[in-house]
Each structure stands twice: as structure tokens, then as C-alpha cells.
Symmetry: C4
């Protein structure tokens, strides 16, 4: 309302970015199911066909959990954003870009595990790790941007919030690269297990990091009269 | 506004969870149509090809109705939620997870019925029942969470609402398991019929349960002159 | 806020129904493009392959225009709705159901026209007409419901609005049935032409019907002090 | 509120058009990933299969960037719109129509480049350019409509904004046609490079055009103490 005219295109509240991102996440998480297909087996063998597809179910679960955690992260981050500018939009579009890629390596891993070829499994797991790391890298960029742009944040946001998040994203990059190396050099299945565990780990620590330094943060909160 | 800083990531109004869920339900309900395909028949046999696909239409109808009822349930539940926390988000993501699976058993049932193999039909119907029961179980978890967390609910919500809903979800688990057993042990078509009837039953009883204490409610309603 | 507790599940503002419907329409209109595929031709024949797919482009255009008109209709209708109840939700879900079917007959028509088999073309066009008529029938039900439920409408809505809309929907049912008969009995292409023209006709008349009785309606408007 | 009754269907705030468009863009940008498929190679050749798909990745990147820029443009434009009427809805639906087509030429280009047939590559690149130009043409129509309808815009919008945007859209039409001609007559890969560069160019110039009159704007901005 009181914003100057020319900022209309560059600065704005983030509501459309949020709605757009929600839709993208919703589509990604739902598209994953398209890789669960009717098994291509002769009549009468549906049960064994379904059972042999188990890697597809594990890959589906891993990717669903990953997107869910990404969505929760996204929600937690934008809850702290007051305004968005062009740079933040592009950082957000980078996060969406790497999340949108996820169904592709998920399908690769699921395919390779059902094909029973060790070389392909190593490649597929390494590829999944690559996209997983890219996704963490996009969060790294996103958090790095917000860590330097206090003017885009709500006033009550702790100064240490986004630097801490940045660190978590960096750890994510390292863990996915490590999982990729283990999957490629040691055993593909080990990599797959890490892919399932990592989102769980993130879900737990994210809740943890928010809640641990509670007393500390409360002390720094601006007095209620400040608004 | 007056919420303490540290809750930003964990406690928040449920608007984004609702928007995200709406998008997921919209996608699931629309993806179902992708399983209605141009029949793979020689030129000139389109009509008979279309008619032979009737199980696909029935399966589509059953799943569409199921998702519609889930959406109505979801809307009715979140209408009563004041705030969401991380636990509720995960319960909600579990509901979305099991709903998002629905197109998969729908395709299986539709495929098996067109293939005319009794064994596969039994497997497909049992699998559909399994996912149907899982979906009811996710609602059970969701309602159980809300039944214990009064602080997340709006003040005017009846104390007995979510315990009652929990009971309905439990009945749903039992009915889908029963349908699966009947479909597997007795006749696949009987299972399919139950799958079509169950959402109808739910749609009706849910309206019923809301409307039973009508006289009680009318007494409490503000006088008509208030408008 | 001031609504009694027990109505929470049955009566509510229509905002979630609108958001859900928008998402469904958006998905349907976008899924249509999935039927435009890379033509399956030997290398070096891409151009002729693309040109031979022209029926697919026409069918795409017809269905896109149809969904666009449905969306505009939906928007115009819900603009007049104050509150939604369970009956309106189900009428709305019926509209979404029949709209969501549209990609299926679109693919059928496009397939049959590229296959050059007269019998299949007649069947496909008749099938498209059937779904088109079903969609108009769902609007008929929707408008019929609203025509009888003044309490769900905003006060300034003209008494004659929804009865008029009901009539337009009825005309739509008849026109699609007629197009199907012409396409089936006379010439499939004639049916296809009607499918493209019908949404255009609806887009034009809908604007017309809203604007013609302008003076009449203005006279009946409640005085501004009424609120 | 104070709007006359009869405008309900024709004039309204643009919030539903925005939500609908966001959903459409979200679906388009996410559907693009469906063209990244598990390569159809014999077991043990997944890595080379993945590497040979590189044109698919480039095409994906180009189209993702294009849709992202379209979304940012859309957001910037509707930020300036106060009310929407039927004409603007149709202009918007035309923009969505041409954006929704994008996955189709993307798949064509990606397919043709992997097929190693020069003739097909020329056709595919020309086709991509055609749709790219159509998309710019739809923006041209959209901006042209808004340039003549001041009454739909917010009061603080600069008089020169939409005429300038119209010019940018026109330049886009010309550049895509030029890229198509170069790709068709000279070298398909040159066309592809331009497709990747064009959105980048647009992203940069759009920011540029908004930011040039910076000093002017800063003068008008409310004093920092206002916060």
C-alpha cells in the first residue's frame, strides 16, 4: 500500500512465492506415485511381481520423506520472511528446481535395484546422492542469502537462525556426497539405507535445533510493546 | 503476532498445511484419470475396447469418491484446528502419504479385472483393501493426536468430536480389512462392490453424525435477527 | 466465529472448496498437454509426424477452451456464494468429477482421428459428446441446488441468476447430445467442429447474459445502507 | 463491496486468477521432469545411457528457466492489477495456454537431439521457437490489454510500465523467431543455446528495467524511521 511504485516488481510480500512453492511441492510429492506401476508380469504372477518391486517402495518412501522435510523446512523459513525480493525468488526457484528433479533419480534407483545389475545400481545410487546434495546446496544458497539480508526478515527472528540453518544444509551436502560414495564404492544398498535415514535425521534435528536454545532466545525477544 | 519467537518453526496457523493438502488432494483426484487410457485394440474395435474397460471406470469411481470423502473429512477436521504443530504436520503428511498411494492399487484392480485372472484379481483387491485400511489408519493416528491435544483446537469444538472421529476411522480400518478378506477369499467382485459402497457409507454417516444433535444445536444458535 | 459449533463440518465459507477446485481445474487444463506426444516416426520424418497429429491439436484446443469456460463459470458462480454446505460440496465435486474426465475423451478423439477408421471416429466423437453432456448435467445439478438455496447466496445476488444459469446448462446438455448424434450419424468431423465452437459460444453468451438485464437488476439492488 | 451486483461475474479482484495461474505454472514446471526418463539401455549401461541424455537436461533447464521467468513476470504484472475483468481473464488464459504447451516442444527438442538426425533437429528447434514466440505473443496481448485499461490497475502504477513491458514482449517474439530461423537454417545447437540464454537475458533485463530509475525511487520512499 504505502510501498513506492517502482518496487512493485522487485519487493513484495512472499505470499505468491509460498502458494507457488506449495503447489510445486504438492505436485512433486504426488508425482512420485506415478513410478509405482502395475508390474509387467504374465497373468497369475501379480503377487510375485508386486513383491519384486520392493525397491520401488523404499525409493518412494525415501523421496516422500525427503520432500516432506523440504516442505516443513520451507514453511519454517518463510514463516520468518517478511518480504521477498528478486534474489530470494531466484534462490527459492533454485530450491524448487532441485526438489523437482527428485522423482528422476528415485525412478533410476528403483529401476536399477529391480534390474539386479551391480554397476547400474552403483550409478543410480550415486546419481540420487548427487541430486540429494544439489538439493542441500540449493538450501545452502537460500539460507546464505537470508543470513545476509536482515531487511527481508521479520524483526523477531533470531540473528543466529539462518546461519545455523546454513550449517545444517552444508552438513546435508556432505552427508549426501558421503552416501553417494559409500553407495558407489562399497554397497548400493547401504546408500539406499542412508537415503531413507537422512530425512528422518533432518526431521528430528530440525525440531531439536528449534527447541533446544529456548531460554536463551526468549531472553533476547524484543519487548511486546515494540510493536 | 503475540506468539513467542521460538515457536515460529514448530507452532503456526495451519493455513499452509491446508493449502498444501488441498493441492495434494487435487492432484491425486485428477491423476486417477490418467489410468483411463485409449484401449489398445485394432482399428475398428474402439467401442468394444471401451466397454471392456468397465472395471477401470468402476475403480476410478471408487477412488474418486474415496478421495472426495477424505477431502471433506480433512476440511471438517482443519475447520476445528486453531494452530498446527510439528506432530500434527507429520500426522497430516501421513494422511497425504496414504491418500497419494491410492492411484496405485486403483490401477492394479482395474488391470487385474481386465486381465481375467482370478488369482491376480484376488491379489489386487487385497492390495487395494490394504491401502484403504492404511488410509483409515492414518486418519486414526490423526484423530488420536487431536483428541489428546485440546490446545491446538478452537475453543468451541466439542470435546467428543475427535474421539468420535477416531472411532469412525477405526471402523474404517476394520471394514477395509474385511473387504480385503472377502475379496481375497470369497470373490474379488464382492470386494470391489464394497470399495464403491464404503465411501458412500462414510459420506452419509459423517453427515449423520454431525447432524444428529440438531435440536441441541438449534437451541444454542444465535437468534435469526442477528443477521 | 459466531457460528454454532456443530455446524463446523457442514456449513463453512467456500474458500477451501474454491482453492481445491482451482487446483483441480489447473491440473486438468495442464494434463491435456500430456497427450501431445513426440510422434512415433522413423528418424527424419518428424515434420510429417507432427503435421499428421493435427487432430490432437484441435482436440487439445477444444478441451482447453472448455475447461477455461468451466473455470470462468465456476468463478462467476462462487463469487455469488456466501457459504457452502455439504450438498453444495457434493454438487461441486460432481462438477470437478466430470471436468476431470475430459482428458480421456480428448485423447480418444485425437487417437481415432489419427487412426483413420470411420467407425472408431464415430465412437470417439459420441463418447466426447457424452462426457461433454455429463459436464453440463453436473452444472445443471449445481445451479439447480443453488437456485433453491437462497440462504447460501450473497444478498445482492439477483433472484433470477441461478435459474437462468440452469437453463444455459440444460441447453448445453442438449447441444452436446446433438453434437454427439451428428458426429455419430453424419460425420465425425462435424461433431469435432461443434466441440470447438461450443465453448466459444458459451464464453460469449455468458458475458452477454450477465450484462443484458442491467437496468432491471440495478433497480432491485438493496439500498447501500442495508449493510 | 460497493461494486454493483451485475459486475459479479465480469469484474472481480484477481485473487482467483492468481491462484489458478500459480497452480498452472507449478504444474507445468514440475511436469517437465516427466521427460527425464530412465534410459532404455541394456543392463550395465545406465551411466552411458544417462550421459547420452544430456540434450534432455539442457532442454529441461531451458524450459524450467523460461517458466520461472514467466512466473516472475506474471507476479510482477498482477502486483499492479487492482481488478480483473473478462478480457483480462482471457488474456491471462492465453498466456497460460502457451506456457502449458512448453513441455511438448521441450520433449521434441530433447528427443530429436538424442536421435542424431539433422532434419528432425531443425524441425524440433523451429517448433520450440514457434511456441516460444507464441508465448511472447500472448504476453504482448496481455500487456497491450493492460496498457489500454488504466481502470484495472492500481493507482500508483507508472503510466509507462505496461507499454514498456509490451515492447519487451515484442522483442521476445522477434528473438524467438530469429532463434528458430538460425536453428533451422544454420545449426540446431545454436538455436538451443539461444533458448537457454533468452530466459537469462529476460531475467536480467527485467530486473534492470525495474531498477534503473533507482535514485528517483529512493527519493520518494518513506523515511526509514517510519518503520
Amino acid at each position: 500500500m504505502s510501498r513506492p511504485t517502482d518496487d512493485m516488481g522487485t519487493r513484495s510480500d512472499a505470499s505468491r512465492a509460498i502458494a507457488f512453492s506449495d503447489a510445486v511441492f504438492a505436485i512433486i510429492i504426488t508425482l512420485l506415485v506415478l513410478d509405482l506401476r502395475v508390474p509387467d508380469v504374465p497373468p497369475g504372477h501379480l503377487l510375485s511381481g508386486l513383491l519384486e518391486q520392493w525397491p520401488g517402495y523404499v525409493a518412494y518412501l525415501a523421496s516422500y520423506a525427503y520432500v516432506a522435510v523440504v516442505w516443513l523446512n520451507h514453511k519454517g523459513s518463510f514463516n520468518r520472511v517478511k518480504e521477498s525480493d528478486r534474489g530470494l525468488h531466484w534462490a527459492n526457484l533454485f530450491v524448487l528446481f532441485s526438489t523437482a528433479l527428485l522423482p528422476f533419480p528415485t525412478a533410476l534407483v528403483s529401476h536399477a535395484l529391480q534390474e539386479h545389475d551391480q554397476r547400474d545400481q552403483r550409478v543410480a545410487v550415486a546419481f540420487y546422492a548427487l541430486i540429494g546434495a544439489l538439493l542441500c546446496a540449493s538450501w545452502l544458497a537460500f539460507f546464505h542469502y537470508l543470513a545476509r539480508r536482515k531487511d527481508l526478515l521479520k524483526e523477531e527472528v533470531s540473528e543466529r537462525h539462518f546461519p545455523t540453518e546454513r550449517l545444517r544444509a552444508l552438513v546435508g551436502v556432505i552427508l549426501y556426497v558421503a552416501a553417494g560414495l559409500i553407495g558407489y564404492l562399497v554397497a548400493p544398498l547401504a546408500g539406499l539405507v542412508i537415503f531413507v535415514v537422512l530425512p528422518v535425521f533432518y526431521a528430528v534435528t530440525s525440531a531439536g535445533l528449534y527447541q533446544v536454545p529456548l531460554t536463551h532466545r526468549r531472553a533476547r525477544r524484543p519487548p511486546p510493546s515494540g510493536r
